[in-house]
């Protein structure tokens, strides 16, 4: 006999459990009886639906009884007292709903305005919550930091640390409870059927401890695993363990070949573990740092991760690192002069410059809500004319002022709550659209599943309550009367008080000011974006496809094997229809790469105690320059003469030639690389390697032909659309090596576009918000001027009857509007210029107080707002005095 299921008692409040349980069993017995009696599947399905509906009703009923009926706390036999406050509230809600239904125009106008305002705020907040507020998926994530390096001589900041410095920093620091090195990348697993690619994370024991990983099976990485010469070990990612090894715990102790090493499996990582936070981690490989800093301190590099000691701050850690950097500078001036280290919280590292953009957007969208609120407040003021009379009647009949204020509050609460509900609907779609615009470089997990969660709903509730309180106050003040009889008279005449009129004008002027601030912000970003798009990166981004590939480690271990592959690959790709040029390089331009190396010209030794200047470097084939159309200024590109076995060669950029050779011809001269002399064979044009906003820096190019590596990016110039050639290129590569790993294929134009994604996001959103603000401000000024004219119709009629010209009337009304618009614009201009300073980090080629933008934004607002005034002004000028004087 099947067991009886447990009742879903978790669905109801704890206090309702005592009566929910028997009620549910009652329902269940009835349901089983009906199910047993069902003649066919269709009937059984109907019975199931009926049961579910009844269950839902039962749960709701239990909530209703436990929230609204407190009589169970009294004796079973006492008659509960009527709950007056609740009944009054319920009655006020009913009254408010009826009023709002009776005034559909007002309800729709205010409701939609607020819904848009609240919706935009909730959408931006949903993204802010996911990106900036949601904790990262690690133990005490606020304690996690990464260490970054800044070269004060070149101004270049790097995310990685030279090995020599990493060892000394880890050894001398006192701010961290754990610190270590890490590197994330791809790896190939062999010996488990077909070789397959995985996401691997190499960690030293210190970094493993810093992350606080608690293995699901087996053990973690220990100091012994990280010693140089220790046997390589690894942990399997939880998903990989389930997917490939069937969740078998006996995998611990087995050896698996990863890349060129056979590693002992010592454990399984916990479920959902991934590092970096947005990434997947299939394997955690043991890594090591040397026990003592090597003599060649800056030959090798690692990323560094640390956990702050409890109570320590990022600033304190930076001070500690700065002190050690100073010591290293004194100890090793030849390598460490002007090189400093600092800590960045892991969240700041993964969020990048999107943080500033999102905070600014939150400010901008709050301004839009304020403007929407001002418009609604104005509508409420206008509506208060009729209600003053109603309130006066109620006061004269004995209603208390508090009672009336409470009713006003409930009315605004009903209006705002309904608007907020619609706004949350808008936000649901808005947040998704926003996420699509967030740069892919923002490494936050779960962005795709962004939506309306409890935190976002809490924010909406807060917004709703604050807005409702604000409107409740406006309504109460606007409808408050100091003397019933006077208000009754004023109400009959349909007049709004002088104070309310002035308040309305001030509100609209404030609206104008907010709109100018947003227009200035949008204008500055627009100019920056236009500037970025028109920037010449020094190479052509159109008609270039890029393909990132990796070769199977075991088969392409030797240099001749790799050389043979690339030779055949280049030939095969050139044979693909539409392909004009093909080249290879290690660094993809415009992806923020700041690799540098020491530069020393032969015969110009670095003085003792000085550090060799740093220049950018790249490994590229001759075809790379041709594919990207980087101009050759002197000498030649790399070719077959630069293959292994021939004399080493290097190409320099023009900036490097200018800085180190002046007017001298560098071709044929040599530079030092340790004891080796490398001949300069060519000079090429400067390019913006890191990003469009970065000025070109001196660059050195080493021949790919001499040291082709297993992982590179191909650059292919095509005749037409490069995206169309991609499948042909993939086919050509697979025909040579079926197990080649094609990691990512993008066009160079897409890469360039991605590099300005944060600016584009700001442009879109600030632009949309500024346009909404402008439209709302114009509607606001239109409403206020229209209302003023309606009140002065009789006066205007009299003026016309006494001989005033229509143009004089037009001018009189326009002057009134211009005063409001001018005041708002002037305040907005001052605030806008000050607020624009917060945008400075995102501006390119334009200052925060750019006169063109400031003047343009102000002019646009003034002209548009005056157009909003002109319509009612014209109406005023066309008043017929005969009619107004008799009818009004």
């Amino acid at each position: 006999m099947p067991n009886e299921p447990a009742g879903p008692v978790h669905l109801v409040p704890r206090r309702a459990a005592a009566w929910f349980e028997p009620a549910w069993r009652d329902l269940w017995v009835g349901h089983l009886g009906r199910l047993t009696g069902a003649a066919n599947r269709r009937q059984a399905a109907t019975v199931q639906v009926r049961y579910r509906l009844a269950l839902a009703w039962l749960v709701l009923d239990c909530w209703r009884l436990s929230v609204f009926d407190r009589s169970q706390s009294a004796s079973a036999t006492t008659t509960p007292k009527p709950r007056e406050p609740f009944q009054m509230f319920a009655s006020d809600v009913r009254h408010s709903v009826r009023r709002l239904i009776r005034e559909p125009g007002f309800t729709l106008a205010t409701g939609l305005t607020l819904a848009l305002g609240v919706g935009a705020n909730v959408a931006v907040f949903a993204v802010v919550e996911a990106v900036l507020l949601r904790p990262l998926p690690y133990d005490a994530p606020h304690e996690l930091v990464v260490i970054r390096n800044r070269d004060q001589q070149t101004g270049v900041t790097k995310p990685d640390v030279a090995i020599g410095d990493a060892v000394d920093l880890a050894g001398r620091q006192s701010a961290f409870s754990a610190v270590g090195g890490y590197a994330a990348g791809q790896a190939t697993v062999f010996g488990e059927g077909e070789p397959f690619q995985v996401h691997a994370l190499r960690l030293t024991a210190g970094a493993f401890k810093a992350l606080g990983v608690r293995p699901a099976v087996g053990r973690g990485l220990t100091d012994a695993d990280s010693r140089v010469g220790a046997g390589p070990v690894m942990l399997l990612g939880y998903d990989l363990w389930l997917r490939r090894f069937g969740g078998d715990s006996s995998i611990v102790g087995r050896s698996i070949k990863v890349g060129q090493e056979t590693r002992l499996v010592v454990g399984v990582a916990p479920r959902n573990f991934g590092f970096p936070p947005s990434g997947t981690t299939d394997l955690i490989l043991s890594g090591s740092l040397p026990e003592a800093a090597p003599a060649a301190r800056k030959e090798d590099w690692t990323f560094m991760l640390a956990r702050l000691k409890p109570g320590a701050s990022v600033a304190a850690a930076t001070a500690n690192l700065g002190m050690i950097a100073g010591q290293l500078e004194r100890d090793f001036p030849a390598t460490n002069r002007a090189s400093t280290y600092y800590a960045v919280s892991l969240r700041d590292e993964v969020v990048g410059n999107t943080r500033t953009a999102l905070i600014l957007l939150l400010g901008a969208v709050a301004a839009v809500l304020l403007i929407a609120c001002v418009n609604v407040a104005n509508l409420m003021l206008a509506r208060s004319v009729g209600r003053q009379r109603e309130m006066a009647v109620r006061l004269s009949l004995g209603a208390g002022r508090n009672r009336i204020a409470a009713q006003m509050l409930v009315e605004s609460l009903v209006l705002v709550s309904a608007s907020a509900a619609v706004g949350v609907g808008f936000a649901h779609f808005g947040a998704r659209a926003l996420v699509a615009m967030i740069p892919s470089s923002v490494g936050i997990a779960g962005l795709a599943e962004i939506g309306i969660n409890p935190t976002v709903l809490g924010f909406t509730l807060l917004l709703t309550v604050v807005t409702a309180l604000g409107f409740g106050l406006v309504s109460t003040l606007a409808t408050a009367s100091d003397g019933t009889a006077r208000t009754l008279m004023a109400g009959r005449a349909g007049m709004i008080s002088r104070g309310a009129r002035r308040a309305s004008a001030v509100l609209v002027a404030g609206e104008m000011a907010f709109a100018v601030v947003l227009l200035i912000g949008a204008g500055l970003i627009l100019r920056s974006f236009a500037g970025l798009l028109s920037t010449d990166p020094g190479f052509r981004v159109d008609q270039v496809a890029t393909v990132e590939l990796g070769l199977p480690a075991d088969r392409y271990d030797s240099l001749p094997a790799r050389e043979a592959f690339y030779q055949r690959a280049f030939e095969a790709i050139r044979a693909v229809p539409g392909v004009l040029e093909v080249g290879a390089a290690v660094v993809t331009p415009l992806t923020g790469n700041h690799w540098t190396t020491s530069f020393e010209r032969t015969g110009y030794p670095v003085p003792p105690g000085e550090r060799a200047p740093l220049v950018g470097w790249q490994v590229a084939s001759g075809g790379y320059f041709k594919a990207l159309a980087i101009p050759l200024k002197a000498g030649r590109f790399f070719d077959q003469r630069d293959r292994p076995g021939n004399p080493p060669a290097v190409i320099i950029s023009e900036a490097l030639r200018r800085q180190f050779f002046g007017t001298e011809n560098p071709i044929g001269t040599t530079i030092n690389d340790g004891d080796e002399r490398i001949e300069i064979v060519g000079v090429v044009g400067d390019i913006r390697r890191a990003g469009l906003a970065e000025e070109p820096r001196p660059d050195l190019y080493f021949p790919f032909e001499r040291s082709p590596s297993q992982g590179i990016t191909l650059f292919i110039r095509t005749e037409g659309d490069p995206a169309r050639a991609t499948s042909g290129i993939h086919g050509a590569l697979r025909s040579i090596e079926p197990s080649v790993v094609l990691l990512q294929s993008r066009t160079m134009a897409d890469i360039a576009s991605d590099s300005v994604q944060v600016t584009r996001l700001m442009l879109w959103l600030l632009g949309i918000f500024a346009l909404i603000a402008l439209a709302l401000a114009v509607v606001g000024i239109y409403g206020v001027i229209s209302y003023l004219i309606r009140q002065r119709t009789r006066e205007i009629g009299t003026r016309l009857a006494l001989g005033a010209s229509r143009s004089a009337i037009l001018w009189m009304v326009m002057r009134q509007g211009a005063l409001i618009v001018g005041t708002g614009a002037a305040i907005g201009l001052i605030v806008g210029v000050l607020a624009a300073r917060t945008l400075e980090s995102m501006l390119y080629g334009v200052t925060a107080a750019d006169p063109l933008v400031v003047a343009g934004a102000t002019t646009v607002l003034i002209l548009t707002a005056l157009a909003g005034c002109y319509v009612p002004a014209r109406r005023a000028a066309s008043v017929d005095p005969a009619i107004t004087l008799t009818v009004t």
């Binding site: 309702a16 009566w19 028997p22 169970q72």
Partner: protein
């Protein structure tokens, strides 16, 4: 004859009805609710069992779960029995109503 009228009853009409039904025999809650329905007293399941829970809390009835069979399923349902305090409460209520009825008929006959 003394004109002493019993105190206002402590139980509601539905509770009086439930106690009355339980005076006859122990019953499952479902049966009491159905019986109340036949008297035209309709309550939602939650409200009905809330009322029964209050009677239990005030020791006027005792409740327990008992297993029954529906088809091939074993299910449990809540059964109730009246307590001596419950019987007293029912009798007091009945006495009140009888006294009120008697007082009413005296006034009619005196009119």
């Amino acid at each position: 004859m003394s004109d002493r009228v019993p105190r206002l009853p402590k139980v509601s009409h539905l509770q009086y009805l439930a106690l009355g039904l339980l005076r006859q025999r122990d019953r499952p809650g479902r049966e009491i609710r159905d019986a109340a329905g036949s008297f035209g007293v309709r309550r939602s399941a939650a409200a009905f069992y809330q009322m029964m829970a209050r009677l239990e809390r005030d020791h006027l009835v005792e409740g327990w779960y008992e297993q029954v069979r529906v088809g091939d399923q074993a299910v449990t349902e809540r059964r109730y029995r009246i307590t001596p305090a419950g019987t007293r409460a029912w009798e007091q209520t009945r006495a009140f109503h009888e006294a009120v009825a008697a007082a009413g008929s005296r006034r009619w006959s005196n009119a």
